[in-house]
């Protein structure tokens, strides 16, 4: 069993903090994704779990045992690298056999010619070859076992890298952006395969990516990292619907969430420009507040219609079949706003025309100017609903 427990991990490179007091518990058999922009420290965290780098402070435990100071091979982890890191001079079979040879053969038995003469070597090597073949069959790469990595396609190399990690049945799989070198179509296919692999192996996966789509589709839980800190850990939907702070809300979701500066008015209403929005904020009147509005929370209304919050000139309309992305310059807003409208129900809009939009109050996220989330009563009810779906989802997962 291999639950992973990280406690207070910090790491500096030449005075620059890369990781800042990261604590996280990963359950046995869980698929956890470390999600963040490049340079946020997610790869460093993964390398510390693997034992390839040492933390400055804090501790790592795998399967309940502290592994600080243990070398990677003593931690029973396998890793898939972004570059795949296959040994270019070895065949696929030799690449996959290496971790087994290193563990099952003594240094003497590994010697080129002499090793074969030692008692038991031949039987052990036959067993290793058999294990390699079996793993290759699972990954459907049997036909390339005799080839060298340079002769393989990107997708095949990726499978070989997974095969090399899988062949010795580790209790933890670490993956460092394994799909980022593949083209978009193959990435979607391999994403599904990794999900399937996790389901079949049932071991703990820690997956590093900067791609939200990968994080959202693969993970049991997502840990969002920004600037070396763990900002939020939760189920994918929870992170999207109930972000803990402004920067998480801005990082997750595409197109990006719109942030609008506003003030709390009398009776808890919020004033945006000259218009108002009925939300129970629980804040003192005249406090500055930031509204976070996801693109799909907008609904088109007639000019001056009920609930109109933003209006402006359309810059660009993107048709995506089922949806329309409308980019417009909202009056009183510095940055262009993107609204996602239902293609069938949206009025006809074209670039240069004016558009008027209302916002569903229950979908608005409130933030303090410093970035913390302000939860309204409605949010707390919604959070309860998220917990319900989580329980349901877990039941579904267990089945």
């Amino acid at each position: 069993m291999a639950a992973i427990s990280l406690h207070g991990l910090s790491k500096h490179y030449g005075g620059n903090p890369v990781l800042d007091a990261v604590s996280l518990d990963i359950e046995d058999g869980e698929f956890l994704t470390l999600l963040g922009p490049s340079g946020c420290g997610k790869s460093t965290l993964l390398r510390i779990i693997a034992g390839l780098e040492a933390q400055d402070t804090g501790s790592v435990a795998i399967g309940g045992l502290a592994v600080d100071g243990l070398r990677p091979k003593q931690r029973d982890v396998a890793m898939v690298f972004q570059s795949y890191a296959l040994y270019p001079h070895m065949t696929v079979a030799a690449n996959m056999a290496l971790p087994l040879k290193m563990r099952r053969l003594t240094p003497l038995q590994r010697l080129p010619v002499v090793g074969r003469l030692l008692a038991g070597t031949k039987a052990e090597i036959r067993q290793i070859e058999e294990d390699v073949r079996r793993t290759a069959a699972v990954l459907e790469i049997e036909h390339v076992l005799g080839r060298k990595p340079g002769e393989l396609s990107g997708g095949q190399r990726q499978r070989v890298a997974v095969g090399r990690a899988m062949v010795r049945r580790p209790s933890v799989f670490l993956m460092d952006e394994p799909l980022s070198n593949l083209d978009a179509k193959l990435r979607v296919t391999m994403r599904a395969e990794i999900k399937e692999l996790h389901r079949r192996l049932g071991v703990t996966f820690v997956y590093v990516t900067h791609d939200q789509a990968e994080a959202m589709t693969l993970s049991d839980r997502v840990a969002v990292m920004l600037d070396g800190k763990l900002r939020q850990v939760g189920r994918p939907l929870e992170i999207y619907a109930d972000p803990a702070e402004r920067r998480v809300a801005e990082f997750i979701g595409s197109p990006k969430i719109t942030m609008i500066e506003a003030r709390v008015g009398d009776g808890g209403r919020i004033h945006v420009g000259g218009r108002g929005l009925a939300i129970e904020t629980g804040q003192q009147p005249d406090t500055a507040i930031v509204l976070g509005i996801r693109p799909e929370a907008f609904t088109p209304v007639a000019a001056g219609g009920q609930g109109e919050l933003l209006a402006g000139r359309v810059r660009l309309v993107e048709h995506l079949g089922s949806d329309l992305y409308v980019h417009f310059d909202a009056e009183g807003q510095a940055e262009p706003v993107i609204a996602r409208l239902d293609a069938e129900r949206a009025p006809h809009v074209a670039a240069g025309e004016r558009i008027h939009l209302a916002v569903r109050a229950e979908r608005v996220l409130l933030f303090a100017p410093e970035g913390q989330r302000i939860r309204t009563c409605a949010d707390q009810r919604a959070a309860g609903a998220v917990v319900d779906t989580r329980v349901a989802a877990r039941r579904g997962y267990a089945r």
């Binding site: 390398r47 390839l52 972004q82 040994y87 270019p88 001079h89 070895m90 290496l98 971790p99 290193m102």
Partner: protein, 318 residues
Amino acid sequence: MRMAIGARYDASAGRADVDPSAKVLPARRPGEAVAAVALAGPATVLLLLLFILPVAAIVAIALTDWQFGTKSLHFVGLANFEGIFADEAFVASLRNTLVYVSIVMPGTVLGGLAIALTIESGGTLRDFYRAIHFLPFMATLAAMAIVWEALLHPTIGLVNGTFAAIGLPTANWLRDEATVLPVLAVIGIWQNLGFAMVLFLAGLKSIPQDLYDAADIDGADRWLDRLMTVTLPMLGPVAMFVVIVVALRAFEVFDTVQILTRGGPGHASEVLLHTLYRESFEFLRAGYGAAITVVFLVIAVTLTLVQARLIDKRVHYQ
């Protein structure tokens, strides 16, 4: 070298992608042919003038009895070649050269590799060590040879002094038939070591860190395992290049011999290039010297071809 490999790789990949229908090319305009000749012309002329014509001239001279400075010459066929292979001095010089190369090449390659690995694994003063090991390669060998002569002096030399102090046998290193060639080879190693080291250091730098990380995860984390799993195989192409280039440089040994021993004592340190120089420019036997040059050229060209072939076959690291 890396660039050449990449280019070759790309070229073959490109070839595989060629559409068969592309054979049907539009008829070339005459202007294109003119442009092609004009563009390739200068290089062709230079190659002809600087390489092909001199080689042809050497081969032609080797078939005559020409003496440098005389006005008459006669065609003698392969007599010069028969002559040199019957000549004890030439056979000794060919044998000495082969012995010299067979000491210098492995000594330089293994020594350069060992120094490069040591410098790369050490943390501090890397640039300093790199510089001092590279110095002999940069220094003028003629000047350095004088230093070696002083060091190896039988009575006042530092080498004999040190050997005597720690109880090792001393010798008249450059005047003794048994020691002269090995001592010259040691100087050759000393001179080329820095060159091999720099190439190996560059090779070591280009090994991706990911491969070492993968080796750590796979359990090949002891020094020897990392060396055998990642470092040495990844240095393969560089090592091949170093072996051939160092062998070529060793075949060209001349200045130390000329300055320190002049081929002596007897023919004990006579080497190919020195024999060639003596026959051609001291004894002025141009035809005879040219025959030696042809033998030397055959060796050099063979080595170069072997290198091209091996690098073609062995570099599959993309």
